[in-house]
Structure formats: structure tokens, C-alpha cells
Amino acid sequence: MTESPVLSVRDLVVEIPTRHGILRPVDGVSYDIHAGEILGVVGESGAGKSMTGNAVIGLLDPPARIASGAVLLSGQPIHALNGETLRRLRGKRMGMIFQDPLTSLNPLLTIGDQLAETILEHLDVAPSEARRRAIAALEEVGIPAAAQRIGSYPHEFSGGMRQRVVIALALCAEPDLIIADEPTTALDVSVQAQIIALLKRLCRDRGVAVMLVTHDMGVIAEAADRVAVMYAGRLAELGPVREVITQARHPYTAGLMASTPLASQGRMRLRQIPGAMPGLDALPAGCAFSPRCEYAQDRCRQDPGPTLSACGGRAACWFPLVTDTKQEVRA
């Protein structure tokens, strides 16, 4: 791609000082998202995927803080901005969609008021125009009879409809970037499919860059263009979704794919990765995955953890898998 990315994250490190020492829930993460692209960020709970999203949009809960690295929005550094500037930027150029739509809507205001308020705050329009745009935004996310429902309160909507309202709210100030943190986890399968289809359509039609954080590989496979796999705060693998899923290079990604019941249909045993992801306060030396990795060698346990840039940009592994994951032939 020739145009500059909407979002660039460079060597991002998030630290949480605790009395047991400094934890690094995000450790040296770098990626770009271009306009009209959906980047999926996957990982197990505690892998740092949500923390990365929160760091980008400036919603880290103290004492967590960005310790080093850079976050660039259309080339402009935003990681060091202070409260007010960042807050304006957050509504105007970045939108956020959370897992639980109820907590991201104000229960005391009608959805029309919430939408109009956001539009008035960030766009230079008259109140009547703001209302018109609010209705248009609701129509765009597929809420039937938007003009009538604009006076409704959040509790009058079903879970799926609420999530649509949240998406409308994130979109109404016409941002360049949307961070969606587990947007479908709380929803039923049929509604999840609707929301994913909606996100994909909005991304394509409006050229918004989307960072889709989820633990569900299936959602990633359907929605994302590229995928970043996180493990223990670091990027394990980054690449086009089809390649990462069908030809994983990092043993962790390969194990993750193989352990989903989807991948092993029929009545055989599931592939499993032994053990569990280490806690941030008990990371092993070297590659964080090495204790669970069946291919780990001395170098993996001794050298500092491999990074994407040190390993050719696709998988952060000293000995990446080279062929089809189903055969797992080693170089």
C-alpha cells in the first residue's frame, strides 16, 4: 500500500507498576492499520490485546501507562497527548466499541440525545442538522424506523440493537479509526453474524480503519484482512489472515488453530497446547512461549525473546514453521 497508514503503533510498551515489580502487559508491539482495513487482534485472556487497544485510544486505567514507543494517527504522534486534546481526538478521529453495549451508553439519555451531543461536540453543525445526522447514522447501522426510535432509551433496545447504537455512536463523528473490543462476545450467534456483516460493510463503504480485538478465531477469519496474534504481551505473528490461519509460522498460532474443534472434525482427540499462558509476573526467560512449545531449543530459552523485526516480520520465532500447518514439517 502506498498511502500512509491511519494508525501506526511502534514498539509500544505498557507498564503497570505493582509492589511485586513492573508488569508489561504490552511489550514492544508494532503494527499498522490502513484505511478501509480490518486488523484482527487475537489472543487468550491476559495476552494484552485489550490493553493494546486501550493504550492506542488513551484509555489506560492508572497505574498502567505507556512506558515507551509511539502511537501515530495519520502520522501524528498521539501517545503523549494530554487529557483534553486526547479526549477531543477520541471522539472526532477515533471511535471505540466495547463488549458490553449497556455500559457504553448513558441509561438516562435517549439515544438521539447521545448521538446529537457527540455530533455537536465534534462537528461544526446546527442542532437540527445534528439530529438529521443522528437519524442517518441509526439508519446506516440498520435500526428500523430510526426516526421514531431516536427518542428511546437504551434499555428499550435488545442487546443486538444496543450494539448497533454503540456502533452508530462511534461512527457519527466520522472517525478515521475504530477500535472494537470484543464487540460480539456478549451476543448470540445470529446477532453476531449481523454485527460482523455491519462492521465489514461500514469499513468498506467509509474507508474506516478498524482494529478488531477478539478471542474468536472464527470471527477473525470472517472479518479481518490481516491478523495480529498476541501472546503474553508480545506479538507472536502478524500477517494476512488467510496465510496466518492456513500456514501459521509461529508454533503458538499453529497450536491455537489446531486446538479449535473446527480444525479437527470427527471424533478424534483435539490437538492441545500443554500448560497455560504464564502470568505477567512469571514470564520465562527467552521466548515466552518456549515452556509450552514442542519445538523449543536452547536458543529459545536463553536468548532474549524473539521479535517480529528480528525474525523477518511475520512470526516472532527463531525457528518458524515453514510449510502447511497440517503437516508441521520442520525446516
Partner: protein
């Protein structure tokens, strides 16, 4: 093979009305929620029967009725020929109770945080005055933890390890049946596969019967021998696994299969399903699925379809063939 669980026209209605005073003042009628409506099925001994459905389908309520946590409003459940709700002989009730155990969804809420693992695991036996000497240690090793873990508290374990402790507790009274209510949906994928494999191994080793409740079709497809699909408290389709996944008959089952994310569907652009699950307090007339059904005809909104046998499949749809 004989049926170890027989569920016959099981119905459960919850009263979700506001308090009496509010109803009088606001002139509201009683609100009754039919969580389970005339569900019948049988589970063969040493098999895995899965109940799938989305929220409000009543799958968890059925599980709770079967283990005796919730009483039925109508119909009955027979376990090994004993109906727990009407049985009078305390000895028989107790022996059936010991034969049925449950594994819950949330491994964080299902272990008492103030108890040591040893006591948690041995409780089903200790409650009946059985011998618990060395029991927890033995079971911990059976589920892949170490005997030394018996003296620890639940907070010292990860989610997957806690689910193993729950499984150990469920096994302690040497049950024949285990009701598994979304046992892996709170776990990460790599841990989920460990727990599912463990469950498969234990089933073979102890000849267990599982009633497997889940919303995750991929897990159900992996685990189940027979699958029942629920929609708004009713069984809409039931078939052996391969028949169901190979040739789904009910339009709702097909919709579920189409909507589920797939790992080989890169950039798939499908028409997502229509509408959302209706309010269970005022369900649609006739077939509850008709407002969302692509095939619906006038008859569907008037007449509720009865269960019909179609080959290996039982299906409640006027149009299925």
C-alpha cells in the same frame, strides 16, 4: 443400550412479574415466562447428548431441572426410571442424586473461594458421610493436577485448572451422568481443547453419560453423539450428530449453521440472518421461528408444528422434508 434419562413433555414457567404492589399500582398483568415448553427426549447410557440453542432457548433450565436444582411446572424427568419430583422413597432419591452431577460454566464462581480444594472435591462424598481419605488427591491426579494441590485454595489456580477441579468434584461421588452446562465457554481455546479431551477420556474410562449444554456448535459437533436444537424453550430438531450437521432439516438449525463463524470463510459475504430472538414472555404465535423464517407460510403463524420423524431426525416444522 437403554435410555438413562427420559425427559417427557417437560415444561417450566417462571413468574417474572413485578411485585404485587407494583402490579396493582401500574395495572400490569402477571408476566409469565415459559422457559421450557413440552420438551421430550431420551439420553442413551454412555452417550453424549448435546442441547444447543441461543440465549433464552431454555437449555440451561432443562439442565437444572434434570439435576434437581429447578422443579418442573409440567411433564417429568426420569433418571434410571426414577422421577425425582414425585419419588417418595428417600433412599432411591439419594442414590439417583449420587448418580448425577453437574459441571458449570464459570470456573471462578463454581468453587467456594474460602474452601480448600481437598474439601471442595470431597464435599459430595462427605455430605453423604462417605470416606474421603485420600479421595481428593486421587481425583486431582486423575484430572491432570497434582495431589499436592489439595491443600491450596481456588484462587491459586487458572481458569482451566479450576475447571479440572470442578470435574474432579463432579467425579467424586462416582456418578453415571454428568450435566455439563457450557463447560468450556469461559475458557481460552488452547485450554478448552485440554478440558474437552479430558472429558472424552473420563467418559471412556468411567462409562459416563454426558448431557452437554452449549451454544458453541463447533464444540457440540466435536463432542456429541446426538444433538437437540432448542429455540425459545422448544425442541425444534433432534438428530444424531452426523445427520444433523450433514443435513439440517429445520430452517432455524440451518440459520444457526450459516451464522456461525467459520475458520475457512475468509472475507465471506453472506446475508446475515434476519431479526433477533423474540421476547419469551410474549412469543410469536404458531411456530415461534416464523417471523424470522425465510420459508414461512401462512400456516406457520397459525399452527404450531408437532415433532415429526423424518429418517433419523425428529423435527418440528411444517415444511421440513
Amino acid at each position: 443400550m437403554s435410555a438413562i434419562i427420559k425427559v417427557d413433555r417437560l415444561t417450566r414457567i417462571f413468574d417474572v412479574s413485578k411485585p404485587w404492589l407494583n402490579r396493582v399500582i401500574e395495572r400490569l398483568p402477571r408476566a409469565l415466562l415459559t422457559a421450557v415448553s413440552e420438551v421430550s427426549f431420551e439420553v442413551e447410557e454412555n452417550s453424549v447428548y448435546a442441547l444447543v440453542g441461543e440465549s433464552g432457548s431454555g437449555k440451561s433450565t432443562i439442565g437444572k431441572i434434570i439435576v434437581g436444582l429447578v422443579s418442573p411446572s409440567g411433564g417429568k424427568v426420569e433418571i434410571e426410571g426414577v422421577d425425582l419430583a414425585s419419588e417418595k422413597d428417600p433412599g432411591r432419591i439419594d442414590s439417583v442424586r449420587a448418580d448425577i452431577q453437574m459441571i458449570f460454566q464459570d470456573p471462578y464462581a463454581s468453587l467456594n473461594p474460602r474452601w480448600r480444594v481437598r474439601n471442595i472435591i470431597a464435599e459430595p462424598v462427605a455430605a453423604r458421610g462417605g470416606n474421603t481419605e485420600g479421595l481428593a488427591e486421587r481425583l486431582l491426579e486423575q484430572v491432570g493436577l497434582s495431589a499436592a494441590d489439595a491443600g491450596k485454595y481456588p484462587h491459586e489456580f487458572s481458569g482451566g485448572q479450576r475447571q479440572r477441579i470442578c470435574i474432579a468434584r463432579a467425579l467424586s461421588s462416582e456418578p453415571k451422568i454428568i450435566v455439563c452446562d457450557e463447560p468450556t465457554s469461559a475458557l481460552d481455546v488452547s485450554v478448552q481443547s485440554q478440558v474437552l479431551n479430558l472429558m472424552s477420556d473420563l467418559r471412556e474410562e468411567f462409562g459416563l453419560t454426558y448431557l452437554f449444554i452449549s451454544h458453541d456448535l463447533t464444540v457440540v459437533r466435536h463432542m456429541a453423539d446426538k444433538v437437540g436444537v432448542l429455540y425459545l424453550g422448544r425442541l425444534v430438531e433432534e438428530a444424531p450428530r452426523d445427520a444433523l450437521f450433514g443435513d439440517p432439516k429445520h430452517p432455524y438449525t440451518r440459520m444457526l449453521f450459516d451464522a456461525a463463524p467459520r475458520m475457512d470463510a475468509f472475507g465471506r459475504d453472506i446475508e446475515p440472518p434476519r431479526g433477533e430472538i423474540p421476547d419469551a414472555i410474549n412469543p410469536p404465535s404458531g411456530c415461534a421461528f416464523h417471523p424470522r423464517c425465510p420459508l414461512a407460510v401462512a400456516r406457520c403463524s397459525r399452527e404450531r408444528p408437532e415433532m415429526r420423524q423424518l429418517g433419523q431426525t425428529r423435527v418440528a416444522c411444517h415444511l421440513a422434508e
